[in-house]
């Protein structure tokens, strides 16, 4: 049962495009972006200036109005609300759908067989350090096949068995018979475990630290932009203030807090969503029927809460940045 578990803390590479490794979380977030943009395009094409909207327009208006009211409840200023709404709304929707997409059947379970040379080499090197027989044999195989790397499970097994037989022919020792048999078994298992790697095609975008760092950086960067836009260069007095030693120290703390924000934003979201994914994988592998259902409900809730927390914190930081220090 445990053999079915696939838990990886970092996103896995699916393919390389122009030197950029496309990971499964990048693919998922691209799908989410595509779906959100497609929805927006459909809504835009159906928009009518009517007093009684229906269907999709009604739904879209409900979303935008709810987001507008949410932002306005914090800012209390229509100008600021209109300025922050696109970012806060997109944070909420994008993170929410990235979180929820991970709960769909197929995400994390539909896998692609990865057959790159690097993986085999990395796996064999890893096993070699552990001193396992099959790994050393695989290492020999690669040494032999150095010019033309093996790429599939079957090929690896065939070559290793050939290699085993070669060793057996060289030696008459009966011990080698047993050893060759063990090697074959271990190789078969080892090849399955390390060389033929099944990578999930989809992984929730927010279950990848790179995504959450990107979002955190955008949030903190926008905070500075809105701060400067509202207060001019005096905004930086918050960080650099030599009027008295206390203010200098406070400025230093504020600077540190900006970096802390990135870390807290990124790790909070990543930690919650990744932990949820692991929880679901473990529960589903232990009791595949019925038992995971409450956890799916919980993850739906956690996904929404985390998106809301990220968006609300960003909103509060944006709003605070636009208020002068005297207002604080």
């Amino acid at each position: 049962m445990a053999a079915g578990l696939h838990i990886s803390i970092s996103a896995e590479t699916l393919l390389n495009v122009g030197g950029i490794a496309i990971t499964n979380s990048m693919l998922t977030s691209l799908v989410v972006s595509g779906l959100i943009i497609a929805f927006a395009i459909i809504v835009r094409l159906q928009l009518k200036d009517t007093n009684s909207p229906r269907g999709l327009q009604n739904f879209a208006e409900w979303i935008v109005e709810s987001l507008h009211n949410l932002v306005h409840s914090v800012t209390g200023d229509l100008k600021k609300t209109r300025l922050f709404l696109p970012f806060i709304g997109t944070f909420l929707l994008w993170i929410l759908f990235n979180n929820w997409l991970g709960l769909l059947p197929g995400v994390g379970t539909i896998r692609m067989i990865e057959n790159s040379t690097e993986v085999h080499e990395a796996a064999s090197a890893e096993k070699a350090t552990e001193g396992e027989m099959h790994s050393s044999v695989v290492g020999q195989v690669y040494a032999v096949e150095g010019e033309e790397p093996v790429s599939t499970h079957e090929e690896v097994l065939e070559l290793v068995v050939d290699e085993g037989e070669m060793h057996l022919e060289e030696s008459d020792d009966t011990h080698m018979d047993v050893m060759a048999g063990e090697v074959h078994e271990e190789l078969e298992q080892g090849a399955e475990e390390h060389h033929v790697k099944a990578v999930p095609i989809f992984r929730p975008g927010t279950a990848d630290l790179n995504t959450t760092i990107a979002l955190a950086l955008v949030s903190v960067f926008l905070t500075q932009v809105f701060g400067v836009q509202a207060l001019g260069l005096s905004y930086f007095k918050k960080y650099i203030n030599f009027s008295n030693p206390i203010m200098t120290f406070v400025g230093f703390l504020e600077t540190i807090s900006e970096f802390a924000k990135v870390i807290s934003f990124a790790f909070r979201l990543f930690g919650n969503i990744f932990a949820g994914e692991v929880l679901l994988v473990v529960i589903s592998s232990l009791v595949p029927i019925i038992a995971p259902m409450p956890f799916y409900g919980l993850e739906l809730f956690v996904g929404f809460i985390q998106a809301l927390v990220f968006a609300m914190l960003s909103l509060v930081f944006f709003n605070m940045a636009t208020q002068s220090h005297d207002e604080h």
Binding site: S33, V43, T211, V218
Partner: protein, 161 residues
Amino acid sequence: MDIQLTQILFQIINFSVVVGALSFLLYKPVIKIFDERSKRIAEGEKAAAKAQKAYADIEQKQKSVEAELKKERNKVIKEAQAEATERKEVIIADAKAKAKAEHDEMRAQWENEKAMLLKKAEKDMAAAVITVAEKVIGDALDEKKASKLIDTELKNIIKAL
């Protein structure tokens, strides 16, 4: 945990594209619709308030006109009543006077007729009594007897009447 700058940049661009697309395709057009709808509602409310004010003014005017009309009507009714009462009294007085005059005239006429009839009846009766008495008594009555008899008979007749 594998932190890759290219992946971070990719996600920043990805997110920025979504922000731009949603801003252009969803938030701005929908908010524009909200604004226009709010404007229309505000205009409608303003027009409704204006109409309500006009209605209230008209109602006020109507009430004042009604009050004035009521006042006028009461005045007219009062005047009419006074005039009617006056006329009634005049008519009644006239009628009473006329009736009295007619009554007096009739009475006078009746009195005259009665007197005339009585006189005639007296004469006729006297003649008849004398005739009857002469026939019964077979004797001619003298003037003194005749007059006594007539008075007696007349008193009887008047009594009978």
